[in-house]
Symmetry: C2
Subunit: 163 residues, 2 copies
């Protein structure tokens, strides 16, 4: 590649999003700007020692604040960010997020995702955001795990109570 | 009160913010719209069985993403929301937020809050958002508790790692 072409290529690359992850095997793409979404809840899981934050897009936040989450409305997207928990070095009884494990998404689209309960599932692993799953069948794993909350529109997260 | 006056009073009341909390004893007022701020971190504390979410205003989020948090910039505000943790009824090893305990704030203003390390502290208790503290001296309790992280600009929270 000649020098002007290299310069052009670098200039174009700089205009791309910093972390354009590949789509999930079921065709779901990572929602833009999810890290700026608002909070729905937070969890700690002792079985795998992780801390989690669940964010929602505007449709999800509106539904949560109106208490209209069973079912969640079409277009709602829930984003769960998961970190390994570690002890806070200045407060022994506190756990704080350590390494980033993955980001998981549930997208409500009853028609498109009829085969998985009306929700599209996707997960991107680690700091390099590698899509999870070998083929579109991976989402049946998600459905199996979410079956205990089928009566809550397949969602474990209950939006936090706020004043 | 006669009926038109009652109607007028109700109409005026309806225009007020739903939860206009009283100021803290050191004069700090609850920041507008903090529930819409973006996520800085989340914690679980086993000593008092609480889950916490720490949000930041735009100044704080910008600083966190640029890694410029020691010291935090003037105008940064950190909002911590605290809930009692409870076991998720459909996932035994998961803790989820239950009753809302309080909202706590740290406001960076080196000149105004020189007597408390450059940070203004405030806390509002419970769903009715009652200001914590009998007089402005309450903030010395906050400073005492935060002294282990004096070298981290008095802040326990380390912004989460994101992809």
């Amino acid at each position: 590649m000649n020098r002007p072409l290299i310069a052009l290529t670098l200039a174009l690359a700089a205009t791309l999003p910093a972390h354009a992850a590949d789509p999930a095997p079921n065709g779901i793409t990572m929602p833009d700007g999810y890290k700026d979404w608002r909070l729905l809840s937070t969890h700690m899981r002792s079985d795998n020692n992780t801390l989690r934050a669940v964010l929602g897009n505007d449709i999800a936040i509106k539904a949560a604040r109106e208490g209209k989450t069973n079912p969640w409305p079409e277009g709602a997207v829930l984003a769960k960010m998961v970190w390994k928990a570690k002890k806070h070095e200045k407060w022994e009884a506190a756990s704080e997020p350590g390494d980033f494990v993955h980001a998981e998404f549930m997208t409500k689209n009853t028609a498109r995702f009829a085969s998985t309960g009306g929700w599209g599932y996707a997960r991107w692993l680690g700091q390099d955001q590698k899509p999870y799953g070998k083929d579109a069948g991976f989402a049946q794993e998600c459905v199996a795990c979410h079956t205990p909350v089928k009566d809550n529109d397949w969602v474990f997260t209950r939006p936090v109570k706020l004043p």
